[in-house]
Symmetry: C2
Subunit: 197 residues, 2 copies
């Protein structure tokens, strides 16, 4: 059962898919007949062959530049800096952002040997220096490394004459004070806002 | 983003994988680089090309007959009849069965147009009539259609001079009387067993 075993192993490498789920998926595909497996295989091949990083922002693209960098309706003066491509999807889901992106491809983590040169930071500086950018929104993840990365970028962009902002920190919708961590609550207190009358 | 969309759609066709999970898996694969996608594609192609139904029992096989039908240590006189290949995995997990299998490829469901001729029933009769089978264990799922299928097979095999048994019905391990359905509890009462002293 070498082919079946191999497929189970490959599927189980995907995040959130354990061995038992991989087995269930494999047997589902076997039950559907070979057409389904082949169609999924072709979709994977197509992605592997055509998708690469956008030459401008690092997001996924099938042409030279991604859908956002090619869209003239997106504000090129507003750049949202994120760690990875999934973060772009998250910001898009908010439907509040009509600017462009810059995908770093990770976050600073000296202990893992990830320094500024490992990330798409030179490209960001280049975009800012080209003069068309008014504001850079730092939207790295709210983790220790994300904070460090944001602080580094803030300092780096300090002298470039561009507005640098960060996503607000505070209570998440549906959150419960009882279960909110202290750091978040401290942030929410320090950046408390006037109640609109 | 045609290739990416296609892959998300194909992954979302898998059972238990919604659109959001499919998107997360796709972006994970994109982040890993093309090698992972290609390896998964090859595993799928290999399964599509080499796996078929065992000529004897209908379970998945990469050679003419499946691993169980080829295994001389498995008792060929004891045949466990199941609806599908995943059921074989379930019975194997019990580690209590050392016989062979017969995979029907579904269950009787007249409303969906699934009659006896749509299932691997002629092959089962053939195996029984070949004379080597002592006992047939009916292990269809404990659903309405599974029951109907088992009853049909029981009648069909009645005159063949072979022992026909069914999996015991009763309380599942870890179950709680409060939450057990009435039909199961009725079964458990009717087939109650003497407490071994």
């Amino acid at each position: 059962m070498r082919a079946i075993e191999t497929l189970i192993t490959e599927l189980a490498r995907l995040p959130g898919i354990g061995r038992k789920t991989a087995q269930r998926l494999t047997f589902h595909l076997l039950q559907q007949g070979p057409d389904d497996s082949v169609r999924l295989a072709r979709a994977l091949d197509a992605v592997a062959a055509t998708v690469h990083d956008c030459a401008e922002c690092g997001y996924v693209a099938e042409e030279e530049r991604c859908e956002f960098c090619r869209d003239p309706r997106r504000d090129a003066g507003l750049v949202c800096v994120v760690e990875d491509a999934v973060s772009v999807l998250a910001v898009e889901r908010s439907t509040e952002f009509r600017g462009r992106y810059h995908v770093l491809g990770g976050r600073l983590s000296p202990l893992d040997g990830v320094g500024p040169e490992s990330l798409r930071i030179a490209g960001l500086l280049e975009r800012v220096r080209s003069g068309s950018v008014r504001e850079v929104i730092l939207a790295t993840n709210p983790s220790m490394e994300g904070e460090v990365t944001a602080t580094y970028l803030h300092q780096l962009l300090g002298g470039e004459g561009v507005r640098v902002t960060r996503l607000a920190r505070g209570l998440p919708m549906g959150g419960d004070l009882e279960y909110i961590d202290g750091v978040t609550l401290a942030h929410a207190l320090l950046t408390r806002q006037e109640v609109a009358g």
